[in-house]
């Protein structure tokens, strides 16, 4: 009979993690009362506590050399590839606007178009130069 009670208490202890407060106050009190008065359960609890502490103190593997740097490098690569895509999208957007403006307000001559294109290429080169300088500073 006592063994059955021990079994019930221990199963409850396992099923309802003490910290989770799933059991009612009465149930928790009943469990505590049993554990306090039952030597085999006390030893069982002590062993569980030992296992728990031991698990907590289990050694973790060290991070392999260079892994963190590898991760950071891969993120940097991702970031720059995303920004290149954005730059290209921006560049094409600007180009389309330039062409449209030339068509609407200019005479649409080849020479005028060439001037606009040169300005555009200069602008993009300046922007690329600025961002690579910024990147150099950050790293």
């Amino acid at each position: 009979m006592a063994k059955d009670l021990c079994s019930v208490m221990r199963t409850n202890f396992d099923r309802y993690d003490v910290d989770s407060k799933e059991l009612t106050q009465e149930e928790t009190a009943g469990m505590q009362k049993h554990f306090e008065s039952c030597a085999p359960c006390q030893s069982w609890l002590a062993k569980w506590e030992m296992l728990r502490v031991c698990t907590k103190q289990m050694e973790e593997l060290p991070v392999p050399a260079g892994l963190t740097d590898r991760i950071i490098a891969s993120i940097e690569k991702e970031r720059s590839s995303v920004s290149i895509v954005r730059e290209f999208a921006f560049a094409f957007g600007c180009f389309a606007i330039f062409i449209a403006l030339t068509m609407v307000f200019g005479q649409g001559t080849g020479q005028e178009l060439l001037t606009w294109c040169s300005c555009f290429v200069l602008l993009i080169s300046a922007q690329r130069l600025c961002s690579s300088l910024q990147l150099g500073e950050a790293t």
Partner: protein, 194 residues
């Protein structure tokens, strides 16, 4: 950089999203060891765990815009790590779903009483525990360690595993029972629980 390390995860994410890329680097340094160890628990191979760790941080970085500030970053990151590690296992053929991870392999069977008794008495408790944990079903080992080694709450484990809290409780119950039953130092526990 010195002060960035004292920032909360939320603050670092906010700053990363605002263009402060160095802040994500702080998060990477903060969690690399944890993610690597969690991945290793699942894939059981250092090189593969390293790849999973890298993939995890990259996926998290790409998905960062979808991260809700106020949500906890650690379980969110560990969920990505767990899924990536499970994908590695699935790709290596023997498992196809989380349920399949519940199926015990012959190597997971508890060792016989004779084997345990014949073990050298001076064996360290830590080693014994490692052995017991290694003998658990992968899903039980994973959840047990998330709870007792890394101190994650039921809710956090539920988020990591993408399973309801009730499932996590049930799995953790089974994991605890299995640890006790297999731990040679606890004979009376296994007697009463059967």
């Amino acid at each position: 950089m010195q002060t960035l390390q004292t920032y909360t995860d939320d603050k670092l994410i906010e700053l990363t999203l605002a263009g402060e890329q160095r802040c994500y680097e702080v998060l990477v340094r903060r969690y690399t060891r944890l993610v690597f160890n969690i991945a290793f628990q699942i894939v059981k191979e250092e090189g593969a765990a390293a790849d999973v760790t890298q993939e995890t941080f990259l996926k998290a970085y790409k998905a960062l815009a979808r991260f809700r500030i106020g949500q906890k970053f650690k379980p969110w990151l560990l969920r990505i790590a767990t899924n990536s590690a499970l994908n590695v296992i699935r790709a290596s053929s023997q498992h196809t779903s989380l349920d399949d991870l519940l199926i015990e392999s012959p190597a997971d069977e508890p060792r016989s009483k004779e084997d345990i008794e014949s073990e050298v008495e001076s064996k360290m408790l830590q080693e014994e525990l490692s052995r017991v944990l290694a003998s658990l079903k992968p899903i039980h080992r994973h959840i047990f360690l998330l709870r007792y080694q890394y101190d994650l709450s039921y809710e956090e484990i539920s988020e990591v595993m993408n399973e309801p809290v009730s499932t996590i409780k049930s799995l953790l119950f089974r994991a605890r029972t299995a640890v006790r039953e297999r731990f040679k130092e606890m004979p009376e526990a296994s007697k009463t629980e059967r």
